[in-house]
């Protein structure tokens, strides 16, 4: 099985792209298209799982399953892929969620149909997302990072809600704007390296002698690219629009995987390559993160649309992830990675549910809903479960990320202002209360109460379907498992995060 070590990650990345090509030449037969699309996502998942099996968990701080071969020789860009303890969980998350989205689409293709195009776009998106998490070369990373723009733009634009024109263009231009400055930062690192390399690992040794101004400017460029993707307050405004208008699978993929590309960029690229600038920027990132937590939570109270509410809750949750990263500590960054995976599982689940609610009630207005638990009890239970997981109940996945991030803020890395971070911790703590508040309030309004008259007849309102169970069960199980046995994930991430945090002396 040693060939897997060389090919596993590339297969996981490019099998979906191959699927796009195959789909394009298939006849327009619904079931054939669905089987083919799902098969390619499934094969990629299998490649990912086999890679995960071959991964040596005893050395998770090392880059493994590495491939490093010539690509664009003249500028020193190489096809360099590999995973360590920080990227492996995210890769698996992406593979799993894409596969589950495929299954969910068996159940429901949003208007205006076009099965072939939708499956092809999800597969193209998957290549971009998986590639981002395995790339160890900045140019390769950049191409994958950009590759997600186009399919997501089309997904929102074609299958989106009434305001889809605005949302899709805003998503595209906002992200493009950020990634151009990110690219300029990459190129500055490349020039500064002297021997013209784009290798993320090799670049770590090249920035030590650069001037402080240079490091800060480059960090600012990377920050713009990643912070827009996360998104951090005040760059978050594209997110609620994109989420609200996107079709269900688009929202799920956006929340579960796409946002992680930004936070992953921080811990994979910005922090290790520019540690001094990271210390300079950490307080700013921490403050913006906490503003995001509070802002996102407060906005949730004002939302009337269920999907928009979940979107703003993402802003808050990603704020916790960014707060964890800003502490530059072992605890904080472990919490951040945990938070990324947990948010991927839970918010992905919530968007699935929001989509399914829309399919049943043809509305997402919270005020129009009610008594879901009474009318379709299993669905209501799943909804309550996901919402409670999202608010960070101990014992479920959402808890650990927030807890560790706040814990990390109590004692940030040396060189950071302890008082400031403790204040941030307290405000973040208030944020968890607000989060609990709006989520419980939402559960109360949607799930409890009486069934509104217009839905009382129950026409078209059915309980969880078999295909929905198939798509959701893995997520629900993982939320519980990660909640009860967090070491499953932290054991994988700890060594890699430890090495990263070691740079900052914590």
């Amino acid at each position: 099985m040693s060939w897997v070590d060389d090919w596993g990650l590339s297969l996981a990345t490019f099998l979906p792209a191959l699927g796009v090509l195959v789909l394009m030449f298939l006849p327009n037969r619904e079931s054939l298209l669905k089987i083919t699309g799902t098969a390619f996502a499934g094969l990629a998942l299998v490649a990912g799982i086999i890679s995960a099996v071959r991964f040596d968990y005893g050395a998770s701080d090392q880059i493994q399953l590495e491939v490093n071969s010539t690509w664009i020789e003249s500028i020193g860009a190489r096809y360099h892929v590999g995973v360590d303890g920080m990227s492996l969980p995210l890769l698996l998350l992406s593979l799993l969620v894409c596969f589950l989205c495929m299954i969910y689409m068996w159940w429901h293709i949003p208007a205006p149909g076009k099965t072939k195009a939708l499956f092809a776009l999800v597969l193209l998106l998957e290549t971009g997302m998986n590639g981002t998490f395995v790339a160890l070369d900045l140019i390769l990373f950049f191409i994958f990072f950009e590759l997600v723009l186009v399919p997501m733009y089309f997904m929102i634009g074609i299958w989106g809600g009434p305001n889809r024109d605005y949302a899709s263009v805003k998503f595209f231009l906002y992200t493009l704007f950020g990634s151009i400055f990110m690219l300029l930062g990459f190129l500055a690192l490349w020039i500064n390296s002297g021997n013209e390399t784009f290798d993320m690992i090799a670049l770590r040794d090249t920035t030590g002698n650069a001037s402080e101004l240079f490091q800060n400017l480059v960090f600012l460029g990377l920050f713009l690219g990643f912070a827009i993707k996360v998104p951090m307050w005040p760059f978050h405004t594209w997110l609620p629009d994109a989420h609200t208008e996107a079709p269900t699978v688009g929202s799920v993929l956006l929340a579960a995987v796409l946002l992680k590309m930004g936070t992953y960029g921080f811990i994979r690229i910005a922090l290790p390559i520019l540690p001094d600038a990271a210390v300079t920027f950490a307080p700013l990132i921490g403050i913006l993160a906490v503003i995001g937590i509070i802002w996102g939570s407060l906005c949730c109270f004002a939302q009337t649309d269920l999907k928009r509410l979940i979107a703003f809750s993402s802003v808050g949750h990603m704020g916790f992830v960014m707060l964890g990263i800003a502490t530059l500590t072992d605890t904080g960054i472990n919490g951040a990675v945990f938070g990324m995976v947990a948010h991927g599982l839970i918010t992905g689940m919530l968007f699935f549910l929001a989509g399914s609610i829309h399919e049943r009630y043809h509305t997402r207005e919270i005020a129009e809903l009610g008594g879901v638990l009474k009318q379709i009890p299993r669905f209501g239970t799943v909804f309550s479960f996901a919402a409670i997981a999202s608010l960070g109940l101990p014992g479920l996945a959402g808890f650990w990320g927030e807890m560790l991030a706040l814990l990390g803020a109590y004692q940030p890395a040396p060189g950071l202002n302890v008082e400031l971070f403790r204040v941030l911790m307290v405000i973040g703590g208030i944020g968890t209360v607000l989060t609990a508040g709006y989520l419980l309030w939402t559960v109360q309004r949607v799930n409890l109460g009486t069934v509104p008259d217009k839905f009382a007849a129950g026409k078209g309102i059915f309980d969880v379907e078999r295909l929905e169970w198939t798509a959701w069960t893995p997520l629900l199980l993982l939320i519980v498992v990660a909640g009860f046995y967090p070491a499953l994930l932290t054991n994988v991430t700890a060594d890699a995060v430890g090495t990263l945090a070691g740079i900052f002396g914590a």
Partner: protein, 491 residues
């Protein structure tokens, strides 16, 4: 013979093999013209396969020269990787243009034979300019590209806009030629040579202000040809009035010819005074991309949109010229910039021609060029919409196509040369440009069509566009194919 005369006039040696591509192309042009005389009216279309055969023959001649590095005609004509790369590019672009033209000219009441003859003449000029290494051959090659172009623009004789476009093109072309010639005559007067290499070595010794002036005249002349702002006014009107395949030709092959001449001249003749002209190109580049993009935002009509977007794209190529420094220590950065220009030209040619092809395909049967008419094209003709969308995405610089690679190399060269302000201007412009490309995509994919009638696209055009798409995707996955060539073509 008088011995004195025999001494002073030496017959330049001719390397016929080195001239093979030009000879094949020129013969093909003549054959097409003559054949047209004898063909019956309803089989005049045969001129197109004849031309295609001529271009393929030329391409074969180019291929046979691979690996050759030689000069002939007393040093005025050089065969190297650079010239072969562009000769091959002109052939490929020529073939795609033929594919676009065939149904267009066959359908209307056009003089088909003349059109193909003129097109081949223009391509012939392109072949020559890639190899021209002295002022006279450079100038003749440039005129060979543009003058047939003027006639081609006027081919829609009954249409006032076609006449207007041709007249504007003619006047600007003549004006720019005059300015350029004046500059060239100054250069000759100062250096006593028309050979670029000799000009370069004698300019080294002198740094008179008159050199700056003459270089400036030459640059302005070229700026007209490549429609750089503020010398761009003719381009959108001319493109709009011209038969659309001709607009496609002007925006790609013809413009690339201008850029090739500019690169040859600047790098072969004036590299030592780069500190005088590089800042001029910096200003031209910034103006060209910004103004081109801002005006493109307001266009309602696809050909005009592509015209302005093409102007903006020229700006990105001009950036490469703004990065050159005469300092020997900056050799590596200069080479990077040169390679970036070559890469951008090649990728731009294919993607922009693809976009024009899609526009022509859409308008073929009574369709129009108004962007509003593209609404819901995806539902009427998924293939065409997908191909067009792909080219637009590539022009915008996003994956999964090679437009991103082109921009990447220009950005890399800009950062390497340390001209950060241009990098920022270019970055902002990339975002602005994405807006109007997306606007067309939005129309095609996100809106519902007013009529359901499918748009039929001839197989020939679909094949040409499909091939261009495959090349562009291939160049994103494995860009080294093009980049190695570009690196080896550095002077």
């Amino acid at each position: 013979m008088d011995p004195l005369l025999a001494q002073s006039v030496t017959q330049p040696g001719v390397d016929w093999h080195a001239l093979a591509p030009e000879l094949v192309m020129a013969s093909a042009a003549c054959i097409v013209l003559v054949a047209d005389l004898f063909l019956p009216r309803n089989s005049r279309w045969i001129a197109m396969p004849l031309s295609a055969a001529g271009i393929i023959g030329t391409l074969a001649a180019v291929v046979s020269l691979i690996g050759t590095e030689t000069t002939t005609l007393a040093g005025t004509f050089e065969v190297d990787v650079f010239s072969l790369l562009f000769k091959a590019l002109f052939c490929v672009l020529g073939l795609i243009i033929l594919a676009i033209s065939f149904h267009y000219f066959r359908g209307g009441s056009y003089y088909q034979g003349e059109y193909y003859f003129l097109l081949l003449c223009s391509l012939f000029g392109g072949l020559v300019i890639a190899s021209a290494r002295d002022l006279i051959s450079l100038f003749i090659a440039l005129e060979l590209i543009s003058i047939p172009g003027i006639v081609m623009v006027a081919l829609r004789k009954g249409d006032a806009r076609s006449n207007e476009g041709a007249l504007k093109f003619f006047l600007f072309s003549v004006l720019s030629s005059a300015v350029m010639l004046y500059g060239m005559s100054l250069v000759y007067g100062l250096t006593g040579s028309t050979l670029l290499a000799e000009i370069s070595s004698s300019i080294e010794a002198s740094d008179q202000p008159i050199i700056v002036l003459s270089v400036f005249f030459v640059v302005v002349g070229f700026a007209f040809k490549i429609s750089a702002v503020p010398f761009h006014f003719w381009a959108p009107d001319t493109y709009e009035g011209a038969p659309s395949p001709v607009a496609a030709f002007l925006s790609t092959a013809s413009k690339i010819g201008g850029f090739v001449g500019l690169l040859v001249l600047m790098f072969k003749a004036f590299p030592t005074v780069a500190d005088t002209w590089a800042p001029v190109f910096g200003v031209l580049a910034a103006l060209t991309m910004t103004v081109g993009n801002l005006i493109a935002l307001r266009q309602q009509q696809v050909i005009r949109l592509l015209a302005y977007s093409g102007i903006a794209q020229s700006g990105y190529i001009l950036v490469c010229l703004a990065l050159i420094s005469p300092n020997p220590g900056d050799q590596a950065a200069n080479e990077q910039a040169f390679a970036a220009a070559v890469i951008y030209l090649a990728i731009y040619g294919i993607m922009d021609l693809g976009a024009f092809a899609a526009a022509v395909a859409f308008a073929r049967r009574g369709g129009t060029y108004f962007i509003s008419d593209y609404a819901g094209l995806w539902q009427r003709s998924p293939q065409l919409a997908l191909l067009f969308g792909g080219f637009l995405i590539s022009l915008a610089g996003a994956p999964p196509m090679a437009g991103l690679i082109a921009k990447l190399f220009v950005f890399a060269a800009t950062i390497e040369a340390g001209v950060y302000w241009l990098a920022i201007v270019m970055g902002v412009n990339t975002v602005i440009a994405a807006w109007y490309y997306l606007a067309v995509i939005k129309k095609m994919f996100f809106e519902t069509p007013e009529i359901d009638e499918p748009v039929e696209v001839p197989y020939l055009m679909t094949a040409a566009m499909g091939l261009a798409t495959a090349v562009l995707v291939g160049l994103l996955i494995y860009p080294a194919l093009l980049i190695d060539l570009a690196d080896r073509s550095i002077f």
